[in-house]
Amino acid sequence: MEHQLPEEKVSYLQILKTAIFKENVIFRLVISLCPSIAVTNSVRNGFLLGIAVVFVQVMVNVTVAAIRKFIHPRIRIPIFMLIISGWVTIVDMIMAAYARAAYKEIGLYIQIIVAFASILARAEMFASKNKVLPSLFDGLGSSLGFLGALVTISFFRELLGKGTLLGHTIVNAKPLLIMVMPTGGFLVVGLLMGFFNWIDIRFYGGKGAGGAGGH
């Protein structure tokens, strides 16, 4: 994939839009499926993890882009990992200190952000080849796309599985219990991906997403 941008020709808005929609982490690149299923059984958890990812992704992209000239290509991956785990540790500590309740529920997944394929992918594909500002927008777009995907998935899973939204009762029943289980997560991700492909092909003349999955 060629991400080396011609100098100043592509606007920041364009980068943002590409990262959110055309290269949506979950529905397009099909990476970081683990969290998209693990934490999306309620909108609140999906949203909180998404926010944490936005922060980490932006900071990682900025850091990598800032020091990209000093990173030897051969050892770039370990260095990216160190940068990522540094920022994740900061988020982890902040959440543990100021958001105890949320931390109890999704704390485990906050630490696992280190291993999210999406973060390493953007650092490797974009930030290590571009200047700081475009990298910032790319990180923002990519993680906002991820956040949007998590919220969309968890919206359907919480509504259908528990009959609630953000903890408020919408339907006083559990319409489809399977949706709160991992099986339901896979079903929702697959069906939404199919739906977005259909929209892409039908209205934008695209080819739909393809490609292999990742963690």
């Binding site: 489809l176 219990l177 399977i178 289980m181 099986t183 079903l187 697959g190 069906l191 199919g194």
Partner: protein, 336 residues
């Protein structure tokens, strides 16, 4: 002149030159026909509810097939009978008391998601009817396990809920089963004719065997999968099924109860999702039998035929690839 020329025309075509009269749709309708005895027994035992539930499943399946093919711009192949058969099988796998939306949603999952989204007839990995049932069982566990005693509906008796023989066997053991049904012979007879709680079409072993015999006679199914499946379940439940030690289990109860007969003869033998190699079919049957016995004896569910077949469906490509016969004269690929 033109006519004479046409008579001499040499027809060049690729093999196969001899074609059978069989077609997919004929096979589908014949298999559906072979389920008629089981369906008749279901109606006899569970009354109009049996017709109602099965009809909902069939309508749901046909609609899902039409809907997805319409959406995808494919040729509408509702009439080929495959969706109808899926609907009938799904209906026969439901308890008689399910509320109306369960058959509808389950048949949508079966046909639209399990079959059509994977590419349509012939491309599905999992047996559609079983997938629909698995979805329903996980989603509505209570409604899907509320069993009614067969009351011979036309005799005007009230239906009461009860556990299936396998449920009783799992929870309380053989002595309770004998308490409920009387002595051993009565138990076997009742299981054989189907006077027990269970899904609509799975109760009457005799009716299912009549249908299976018909399919065997027509050579639509071969004995390999069902026989290896049943033999494995029988053997394992005989060895490990008893409470007093090895070889004290009652294989006959296990063979005659649950969805084993329906699953082994009609679901595991689905052309699309079982191996096509004969050796592979035996491996497939043994695998199904092993998983069924494992779930029945050791896991949380009293019945495991459905999950066993679905799990083995995953292995079908692997089995086919590793056990296919070597083409005559072909050499083994080096380095493999």
């Amino acid at each position: 002149m033109a006519v004479a020329k046409k008579e001499q025309e040499l027809i060049v075509s690729v093999s196969p030159h001899i074609r059978s009269e069989e077609s997919t749709s004929k096979i589908m309708w014949t298999v559906t026909l072979s389920l008629l005895p089981a369906f008749a027994m279901a109606v006899y035992y569970f009354g109009p509810r049996a017709i109602y539930v099965t009809a909902l499943c069939v309508v749901g399946s046909l609609f899902s097939e039409w809907f997805v093919q319409r959406m995808a711009g494919k040729e509408i192949a509702v009439k080929d009978g495959s969706a109808f058969l899926t609907g009938v099988l799904l209906g026969l796998n439901m308890p008689s008391s399910v509320p109306f939306y369960i058959p509808l949603v389950a048949s949508f999952v079966a046909v639209a998601i399990t079959k059509q989204l994977f590419g349509g007839l012939g491309y599905n990995i999992f047996n559609p009817a079983l997938m629909g049932r698995a979805f329903a069982l996980i989603t509505w566990p209570r409604a899907m396990t509320t069993w009614f005693t067969p009351t011979a509906a036309f005799m005007g008796m009230d239906a009461t809920t009860t556990a299936t023989p396998l449920g009783i066997l799992k929870e309380e053991g053989v002595h309770k089963l004998l308490e409920v049904f009387g002595d051993k012979m009565t138990l076997y007879t009742k299981l054989l004719i189907g006077y027990r709680a269970g899904s609509l079409g799975e109760t009457s072993v005799i009716a299912l065997l009549i249908g299976a015999a018909f399919l065997l006679y027509k050579r639509y199914i071969s004995w390999h999968i069902p026989v290896s499946f049943l033999a494995t379940v029988g053997l394992l439940t005989w060895i490990f099924g008893g409470k007093e030690g090895l070889f004290t289990g009652d294989p006959i109860v296990h063979l005659l109860s649950g969805g084993l007969m329906l699953g082994a003869w009609f679901m595991a033998t689905d052309y699309v999702t079982c191996p096509s190699v004969k050796k592979g079919q035996i491996v497939f049957g043994i695998g199904c039998g092993f998983l069924t016995a494992l779930i029945r004896l050791k896991a949380g569910y009293p019945e495991g035929v459905m999950f066993a077949i679905l799990l083995m469906n995953c292995f079908t490509p692997l089995i086919d690839r590793n056990l296919k016969s070597r083409v005559f004269g072909a050499r083994k690929e080096a380095g493999k």
